[in-house]
Subunit: 417 residues, 2 copies
């Protein structure tokens, strides 16, 4: 059988009451897109057998692959397997191999296995079982080839689901697809969504293969170029052509990377230029360093970061002058520049980046409102500061400020190489 | 009319292809839970008029309040208002006030308004309009009191949606509810979900009001206690009783806070004890400092953080001995202790916390595998180190390590006060 479309059904009252964000749906969606399996619908239901049954039946009327997550746990309200088994007329039977794996997992971690964990080894009869290398509950695919339906059940914890999906579910699903899809993300900083769309309107509306779709968030715009074809090579060629067109447009000057985050662009840029970077953060409190060190291999370009939340720390660690703080304040052009200079000389890095600002909710004044942020940049060539007036709550001000700092780090790199 | 149940329908192909995580649904769900409005179902559809229409019609058959997000933007594929207007037999008409607000917004930011932004000021006739103070697209509620249905449409960008919801939608919805709900989160660190449930099984299964539900993530377990009643006071009293029972159980010793994150517990704990804290981070690269400074007011207890990714930085900033690094390595009990001591004396803080480890994906060896992390803790009373062997990818190792560090910071606080 060939899978034409899929739906995702996530099970868990904790999603419906907003206790957790449904990251599993986003992850599964990405993988389905890679496989070229269309998805038109996603849903969430609680741990309620009747509604769960309705949702499964409704989905199986619309689609041929249903991927479910959640409700495989050891607790009494985990009912996904029971419900799907009923919907598809199967019995739950003990899978000895899965039980042994669960037992071994507890033994290995020198933990005591509670009796409710046994329930996780019961699987609908005749299923393909997916081992769980990151937790206890195995996943499974219940196949009904006669009616052209497959239901895949995966554990709810994102870390378990992701590992299982990439290890077992991707190879399993590839058997049921032939068309290939390929996407390229063009990452843009410093130009708004409306402006990008206005610039590329004809391309975005007129192009069917590849398609070009904008996504906007955290002060960044991403254009996703997606092509379909019979081979990966064909898809890639189609995408590359469109990327070239966009690079040549007015948007081109704002592109900082292809298929990478701002922090990845910074790390790879500094890495290939053989330059190093250090950070001195006040209001972002470590977020810039965190974003840089999110990137594996960042230790090659980033050795030092200072979180100087207190004025005293700015003086002691970075050598900011007491007079500067007294005369201009901690949130000022002058302090930002001295912080950047300070962390650069302290660390011996090629570029020093600093941030000082008022993230809120408190601490603002008429003269220096919440959202006022100064970025400092210091290199062998120059020391400069950038003034930003950001809107949003504490989280957003910090995210936008750290994004701008990373963008300035990239700009400065271009100036010195 | 009184609202009995609600559904959430998020619109956006970018959600279906996994480009963004649906945080709006989680946010709206939390607010609905606070209002005591039950939610049994959530869905996502793409920017496709026919499927969008089907989803709206299906939802309105099951529920009396439908909250939608997304598809109010300026671009050609934003079709939510058009589709809902058709489903509910309304015309879209220009709202001059909204148009003026959009124009002013562009003028204030000295940006040029592109013509496609005008589309955002067209609203289904007879709607209640919700101003957008964080973006351009207004929200609205289309009311059909005859059939007991309300459809609320909100902008997709999370920052705009959240601000609008709390400012305008919450007061609007309160008119249509009378029952009150109240939830309390009990935050637990250091005890697994299965163990917690085994301990509290009877309470969790037997209790209907309040209900007790576990949620597990990032190495933490949260128990959510939810009561319903006719007044907030009644709900609170019911919750408090159950919280007391749980505090007295074996789980009690692992509770670090009520309704707070680990970082919030650290900040409020140090604040009320009048103590200060400093961090020295290697593999977590600023994440601990970031989590602490996520909390407004953290500057009172946290002045200094060092991100010492390079060995040289550990020596220069923290005074870690070169011999220690050579003899035991950067990832060792000894280095962790010297880092913690170093940042404590550098900053003059009461407690110094350090982390050094191998977050992966590279850098592991048979002797020191990926996931090996040492935490250092230094106070006036003692200097100690904790060895952790964490499983998971880079992100997860960093999150778990930072969580354990925060937990150790709390433990040390108890030891010194």
């Amino acid at each position: 059988m060939k899978i034409k479309s899929a739906e995702i059904l996530c099970v868990g009252t904790e999603i419906l009451i907003g206790d957790i964000v449904n990251t599993n749906a986003a992850f599964i969606s990405q993988r389905l897109a890679q496989l070229g399996i269309n998805q038109y619908y996603q849903a969430v239901v609680g741990d309620n057998p009747a509604r769960l049954k309705d949702a499964v039946s409704a989905a199986l009327k619309r689609t041929d692959l249903l991927i479910m997550s959640g409700g495989l746990g050891p607790t009494y309200d985990d009912l996904t397997k029971e419900t799907v088994a009923e919907c598809m007329g199967r019995k739950l039977i003990l899978d000895q191999r899965s039980l042994d794996r669960i037992k071994n997992r507890f033994a290995f971690r020198e933990q005591c296995m509670t009796p409710n964990n046994e329930k996780q080894a019961y699987i609908p009869q005749g299923s393909t079982i997916f081992d769980n290398d990151a937790g206890t509950a195995p996943g499974c695919a219940v196949e009904d080839f006669e009616n052209g339906k497959i239901v895949i059940m995966l554990p709810g914890p994102p870390f378990e689901l992701k590992k299982m999906f990439d290890q077992s579910v991707m190879p399993y699903l590839k058997r049921f697809t032939d068309r290939r899809f390929h996407s390229v993300n063009i990452n843009i900083f410093g130009m708004g969504e409306s402006a990008v769309e206005n610039e590329l309107k004809e391309l975005m509306q007129g192009s069917l293969n590849p398609t070009v779709a904008p996504y906007c968030g955290d002060g960044e715009v991403r254009l996703r170029v997606t092509a379909s074809g019979e081979s990966n090579e064909e898809c890639r060629r189609l995408c590359d052509n469109t990327v070239e067109i966009i690079k040549k447009s007015r948007v081109g000057g704002y592109i900082y990377g292809i298929d990478m985050t701002l922090a990845e662009a910074v790390v790879s840029g500094y890495l290939s230029a053989g330059k190093t970077l250090a950070t001195a953060e006040s209001c972002t409190g470590g977020l810039i360093a965190k974003r840089i060190t999110d990137v594996p291999g960042s230790s090659e370009v980033f050795g030092y970061g200072a979180v100087t939340y207190a004025n005293e720390a700015k003086i002691k660690l970075l050598g900011v002058k007491k007079q500067t703080l007294e005369r201009f304040g901690a949130v000022s052009d002058e302090t930002a520049r001295e912080m950047a200079q300070g962390v650069r000389s302290l660390s011996g890095s090629d570029v020093g980046i600093s941030v000082t600002g008022i993230a809120g909710p408190g601490g603002g004044s008429a003269e220096k409102p919440v959202g006022l942020v100064y970025l400092g940049v210091s290199s062998g060539k120059q020391t400069r500061a950038v003034r930003l007036l950001l809107s949003g709550d504490r989280d957003r001000v910090r995210i936008l400020a750290s994004g701008s700092a990373l963008s300035e780090a990239l700009k400065e790199l271009k100036a010195i190489i």
